[in-house]
C-alpha cells in the first residue's frame, strides 16, 4: 500500500468552538489519533476552510482526511474529496446539539467529542479511497419482457429517451390483457363512459419505432451477466435462438385472472352463463362486431338481466382465495355494466358489492353508472345457482340485514376475480430454508401456488427469477424504490409488481424505464445503483482465506454472488448494491470495501476511551443503520432532543453488514452495552436492502451464546427497530437503555 498521510480538521463554527475545547480536540487528534497534521478552523465548510484542506492535499501530500465538524450527512458538497479517503466525526448533530449547554454537562460532552475524534482518526486510517469497479459493461439496450400496455409503454418511453429496446412477447401479438378488452375505464374528462383502450395505437407506435426490436412468440431462454453486460438468449417459435447484449431489464409480465373454477359456489365453471370479466369482454367484443347485443352464451338469447359479483375470490379472510383487493375490478364491473346500459337501458344490471372501491375520478364514473340506471346493491354473494339458461344469485343484503336475499332469472353472472401475478418461479421457496437453517415450511396459507415456468431464466446462483414478496407479486422496496427488484438492473412494472389498472401500469412503466436507464448508466461507470447511488466502493474478497462456507452467496439479498466450479464465490460487482451483508456474514472476515470494512468499524470501536468502573461513566456502543437510524439520530440533534453522553455511535451500511466480531470486541473492551439500530424486517420491511436487516437479525439472534461464553447478562446487547421518523423515540430508547444498564452494573471487562 502506498504511503498515507492523515490530516485532521476540527471546525469551530456552528457553536462548536463555544461548546467544546477545540484546542484539546486538536491535541487528541495528534496524540491519540496520531495524525501528523491537525488543525482547527473557524468555519471549515466555507470557501476558506475547504481551500485550506485542498491546499494540504496538493502541497502537503495529505491522502486521508478526518473532518471533525457536522454529521457526515451534512455539507457533503463542501467536503467532497473524491481522490481521498474521508472520515467524519459528528461533533455537531452527534454531540453539541444533543447535549445540554450547562456547566455540569461540559465534561461529558467534551469526552464525547474527544472519542469521536479518536474514532474518526482510527477509521480513516483503515480506509482507502474507492477506485470504482472496473468489471463493467457498456450495453445501453433495454430488454422489455412482455408486450402488454406496461411493456409497450416502457419500450416507447425508453426509446423516446434515446435508448434502444428489445421487446419480447410470448404470444403472437402485442396488447396483452388490455388487448382483449372491448373498452377501458375512462381516464379523461368527463369520466362518464367506457373509452377506447388505446392498445392499437400503442402497438403501432412500437412497431413503427426503429429503436424498438420486437420478438413475438418468443421467450427468454437464458439471462446471464450483470447490469451493463447482460447476455440474453431469446427463444423463438421457430426454435431459433437469438442472443442480445442488454444493459438493463424491465419485466412487465402482467397478470392472469384468478381461476374462477376455484369458485364453484359462485357458479364458476358450472354454467356457460357464469363468466369472469375476461369472458364478458369477449362477449362485448363479439357483440360489437355484430348487432351490438350481448348474448347469453348458453342459447345466444339477448341478455336481459346481468348481475356482477364483486370481490369474487378476493379479499378473502379465510385464506382459501386471494386475500387482497385487486383494485381495478370495481371500475371494470361498472364499465361492463355500461356496455349493457349504453346499448339498451332496459337491461337490468346489478352490481353486488361489499365495498365499492373507485378512488379518484372513478367516483365520477360510478356516479355516471348510477345515472345510467345501474343498480348497486351492498351485499355479499353467498351462492350462484345456475338453472337451465338462468341463474339465481343468493346474497346477504348488508344494508337491509336480509341474509336470504336473492335475485332470480338472471341471464348472466359476471365474477370479478382478481389479478394473479405472472412472476415466474418463487425462488424464495427454494432458498429460504437454507437461510434460516431449517427445513422448508409448508407454503403459507393463501399463497398462490408456485408457477413452474421461469420467465427470465437467470443463471444466478440464487435462482432463475426475481424474488417475490407475498402472494406471488415480485418484491420491491414498496416505499422508497417501488420498481426495484432484488436483482440489480432488473425492474418490474405493472401488475406483476402489485395489482393495478391500466393508468397505474402506464405510470409504472415510465418510472421503471427511467430507473432501468439509470441502472445501465451507473453500471457502465462502475457505480452503485441506489440506495448508495454513485458509490464507487464494492466488495473485495481475499479468496486465499475463503473457506467456501457459502454464507455470502446465500445471504446476498441481491443475488450478486455466484460460485465458480471450485465453489469459491464470484462477485458480480455490477449486480451488487453495496449493502455489506456478505461482509457481515463472512465468518472468516475476508470480505471488505475500501472505505467500509471489519477494520474501519473495529478500529473505531477500539479507539474509544473506556473509563474504569469507578468513574461512573458507562460506554454504550450504537451501531446505527445509515439509511434510517442514523438520520433519525441526526434529526433528533436538529430538534435538540437530548440523549445520554455515554453513547458512541457508528453508522453502518445496513444491519446486515454487522459482523458479530464487532460486538464481541466491544464487550471484551469493556463497553457496558451495545445497541443495534436497524430497519424493520419481515413482510412489512423497511430495510433499504430489503433482506439486510432481517439477515442481520438472524445472525444476531445467536449473540446470546457469545454473551454466555463471556459470562455476561443478555441485557448487554439490544436489537432495536428504528425508523427514520423516530426523532423523538430514538433519544428516549437510548436514555431508557442507559438507565437499564446502570441497574445491570458496569461491565466486568473494564480495564483489561
Amino acid at each position: 500500500m502506498a504511503d498515507i498521510k492523515v490530516a485532521a480538521y476540527i471546525c469551530k463554527g456552528c457553536g462548536l468552538g463555544e461548546r467544546l475545547d477545540t484546542d484539546a480536540l486538536v491535541k487528541i487528534a495528534q496524540k491519540d489519533g496520531k495524525v501528523p497534521l491537525a488543525k482547527s478552523h473557524d468555519f471549515l465548510c466555507n470557501a476558506d476552510g475547504v481551500a485550506m484542506i485542498k491546499n494540504d492535499i496538493a502541497n502537503e501530500g495529505v491522502t486521508h482526511i478526518m473532518i471533525g465538524a457536522c454529521s457526515r450527512r451534512a455539507k457533503t458538497e463542501a467536503f467532497f474529496f473524491p481522490e481521498n479517503a474521508v472520515a467524519r466525526a459528528n461533533l455537531r448533530e452527534g454531540v453539541v446539539w444533543i447535549r445540554p449547554d450547562t456547566e455540569e454537562a461540559r465534561e461529558t460532552t467534551q469526552d464525547m467529542a474527544e472519542d469521536y475524534i479518536r474514532m474518526g482518526c482510527a477509521e480513516v486510517k483503515a480506509m482507502t479511497a474507492p477506485g470504482g469497479n472496473t468489471n463493467t459493461g457498456t450495453s445501453k439496450t433495454l430488454l422489455v419482457v412482455g408486450g402488454g400496455v406496461t411493456g409497450m409503454t416502457t419500450a416507447i418511453e425508453a426509446s423516446k429517451t434515446g435508448y434502444s429496446v428489445v421487446l419480447v412477447e410470448k404470444s403472437g401479438e402485442l396488447g396483452g390483457w388490455a388487448g382483449k378488452l372491448y373498452k377501458r375505464t375512462p381516464v379523461h374528462e368527463p369520466f362518464k363512459s367506457p373509452a377506447d383502450t388505446g392498445v392499437a395505437d400503442l402497438a403501432s407506435q412500437v412497431m413503427g419505432d426503429s429503436n424498438i426490436k420486437v420478438y413475438l412468440n418468443a421467450t427468454i431462454a437464458k439471462t446471464d451477466g450483470a447490469p451493463g453486460r447482460f447476455v440474453v438468449d431469446i427463444a423463438t417459435e421457430s426454435g431459433a435462438t437469438h442472443t442480445e447484449d442488454i444493459g438493463a431489464i424491465v419485466q412487465a409480465t402482467g397478470f392472469t385472472l384468478y381461476d374462477m373454477n376455484k369458485l364453484p359456489e359462485l357458479g364458476g365453471g358450472k354454467s356457460p352463463n357464469v363468466i369472469d370479466q375476461a369472458g364478458l369482454e369477449a362477449l362485448a367484443k363479439a357483440a360489437a362486431a355484430g348487432d351490438g347485443i350481448i348474448r347469453r352464451p348458453s342459447d345466444n338469447q339477448p341478455v336481459k338481466s346481468v348481475v356482477f359479483v364483486q370481490c369474487a375470490g378476493q379479499r378473502d379472510p379465510t385464506g382459501t382465495h386471494l386475500s387482497y383487493c385487486s383494485g381495478f375490478c370495481c371500475n371494470a364491473s361498472i364499465k361492463q355494466a355500461m356496455y349493457f346500459k349504453d346499448t339498451n337501458p332496459g337491461v337490468d344490471t346489478t352490481i353486488i358489492y361489499t365495498d365499492l372501491r373507485t378512488p379518484g375520478n372513478g367516483e365520477d364514473f360510478y356516479r355516471s353508472a348510477q345515472e345510467k340506471g345501474v343498480i348497486f346493491t351492498k351485499g355479499k354473494v353467498a351462492e350462484v345457482v345456475p338453472n337451465g339458461n338462468t341463474s339465481t344469485v343468493k346474497f346477504n343484503d348488508l344494508i337491509l340485514g336480509d341474509t336470504d336475499a336473492s335475485m332470480v332469472d338472471v341471464d348472466l353472472v359476471v365474477l370479478a376475480t382478481g389479478q394473479v401475478a405472472n412472476s415466474g418461479i418463487n425462488i424464495d421457496a427454494l432458498t429460504k430454508p437454507q437461510v434460516e437453517g431449517q427445513e422448508g415450511e409448508p407454503s403459507a396459507v393463501g399463497t398462490v401456488e408456485v408457477k413452474p415456468i421461469s420467465i427470465l431464466n437467470l443463471t444466478y446462483r440464487q435462482g432463475p427469477d426475481v424474488p417475490q414478496l407475498k402472494q406471488g407479486f415480485t418484491d420491491s422496496h414498496f416505499i422508497c424504490f417501488p420498481y426495484e427488484t432484488r436483482r440489480t438492473g432488473i425492474y418490474t412494472a405493472g401488475p406483476v409488481r402489485r395489482p393495478m389498472d391500466i393508468a397505474q401500469a402506464r405510470e409504472d412503466a415510465t418510472g421503471a424505464a427511467l430507473k432501468a436507464i439509470q441502472a445501465l448508466e451507473n453500471a457502465e461507470l462502475g457505480r452503485a445503483a441506489h440506495p448508495r447511488s454513485g458509490d464507487l466502493s464494492f466488495p473485495k474478497v481475499r479468496l486465499e482465506g475463503c473457506t467456501q462456507c457459502k454464507r455470502c452467496t446465500v445471504e446476498c439479498p441481491f443475488g450478486a454472488i455466484d460460485e465458480d466450479e471450485k465453489r469459491f464465490p464470484v462477485f458480480n460487482e455490477s449486480r451488487c448494491r453495496r449493502c455489506g451483508t456478505c461482509m457481515g456474514a463472512c465468518p472468516v472476515r475476508v470480505i471488505s470495501f475500501e472505505n467500509y470494512s471489519v477494520n474501519t468499524v473495529g478500529a473505531q470501536i477500539k479507539a474509544v476511551d473506556i473509563p474504569d468502573e469507578f468513574s461512573e461513566k458507562p460506554r454504550i456502543l450504537i451501531l446505527a443503520c445509515e439509511n434510517d437510524a442514523y438520520p433519525a439520530l441526526d434529526m433528533a440533534g436538529m430538534s435538540r432532543n437530548e440523549y445520554s453522553a455515554f453513547v458512541r455511535i457508528i453508522p453502518i451500511r445496513c444491519l446486515g453488514s454487522v459482523n458479530t466480531i464487532w460486538i464481541t470486541d466491544a464487550l471484551n473492551a469493556g463497553y457496558d452495552g451495545v445497541m443495534l439500530m436497524g430497519c424493520k424486517s419481515g413482510d412489512e420491511y423497511q430495510c433499504h436492502f430489503v433482506k439486510g436487516s432481517e439477515l442481520g437479525r438472524v445472525r444476531m439472534s445467536k449473540i446470546d451464546d457469545t454473551l454466555k461464553t463471556l459470562n455476561l447478562e443478555s441485557e448487554r446487547v439490544r436489537d432495536l427497530e428504528v425508523a427514520i421518523t423516530d426523532i423523538e423515540r430514538v433519544p428516549d430508547m437510548i436514555n431508557k437503555y442507559a438507565a437499564e444498564l446502570v441497574a445491570v452494573g458496569p461491565s466486568p471487562f473494564k480495564g483489561f
Binding site: 365499492l356 348510477q370 340506471g373 348497486f376 336480509d402
Partner: protein
C-alpha cells in the same frame, strides 16, 4: 282496480322506476351511495329510532320492497330539519324525497292511518283551510282525542297546568271552541284552494295514468 293495484301492476318489478316517476325528486334515489351519513345525521332517528332510516329506505326501493316502503311510518317521522341534505355527499334532496314518498303513500291510501304526524297533518290542513285561520284550541284538542275519548281526557289532564297557565296569561280563549275567529275573505280563500287542488289533482292523475 284501486290506484295502488293499478300502479303496482304497471311497474311490476321496477319499484325504483315507479318512485322515480311518481315521487317528487324520486329520480335522485338511484344516486345514493349508501354511505349512511343521512341516517347518522337524522335527529329523529336517534330519538325514536326509525323503522327504516333514509339510507335504508333508498336501498329498499332499489330492492323492490314496495309494500314495506309505502306502508312504512319512517318517512312520516321527518321533521324537515335538513341536516341530511346538508351532509349528503351525493347531494340527494333527502328531506324532499322523504316527504315525496310520504305523500305518494298517502295518495295510494297505503300510509299508516293513525301515524301521529300523518294524522296531525290532515287535522292541521282541515283546521286552517276551514276558516282561513288556525284554531289552536281545536287543533290541539283534535290531536288529544285522536285515539278516543278516554285517551283524550287522560292526555288533556296531563297538560292541565299548562292550559291554566295559558288561560291566566290570556293566551288561550275557551270561547274559540265555538266557531272562533276567521279571516276576512273566507270565500276567496276557499276558491283559491279549490283551484290549487284542481291543478294538483290533474297533474298527479296524468302522472299516475302515465
Amino acid at each position: 282496480m284501486s290506484a295502488n293495484t293499478a300502479l303496482a301492476e304497471k311497474y311490476r318489478n321496477n319499484f325504483l322506476k315507479e318512485i322515480e316517476e311518481q315521487v317528487e325528486m324520486g329520480d335522485w334515489v338511484k344516486m345514493c351511495m349508501q354511505c349512511g351519513v343521512c341516517s347518522g345525521s337524522c335527529p329523529t332517528n336517534f330519538q325514536s329510532a326509525w323503522e327504516h332510516p333514509p339510507q335504508e329506505l333508498f336501498m329498499m326501493i332499489r330492492a323492490g320492497k314496495r309494500e314495506e316502503v309505502l306502508t312504512s311510518s319512517s318517512m312520516w317521522n321527518c321533521t324537515s330539519c335538513y341536516n341530511c341534505i346538508v351532509r349528503c355527499p351525493r347531494k340527494l334532496p333527502i328531506t324532499h324525497i322523504m316527504h315525496g314518498i310520504a305523500e305518494y303513500a298517502h295518495r295510494l291510501g297505503m300510509a299508516p292511518k293513525m301515524q301521529p304526524t300523518r294524522f296531525f297533518s290532515g287535522l292541521f290542513w282541515k283546521n286552517c283551510t276551514h276558516t282561513g285561520r288556525v284554531n289552536e284550541l281545536k287543533l290541539s284538542m283534535g290531536l288529544y282525542f285522536k285515539d278516543g275519548l278516554g285517551a283524550g281526557i287522560k292526555e288533556g289532564m296531563k297538560m292541565k297546568d299548562v292550559a291554566i297557565g295559558l288561560l291566566k296569561a290570556k293566551r288561550l280563549n275557551p270561547f274559540e271552541l265555538f266557531g272562533g275567529h276567521k279571516c276576512k275573505d273566507q270565500k276567496g280563500i276557499q276558491a283559491m284552494l279549490k283551484k290549487a287542488y284542481e291543478i294538483e289533482r290533474s297533474r298527479k292523475a296524468a302522472k299516475m295514468a302515465g
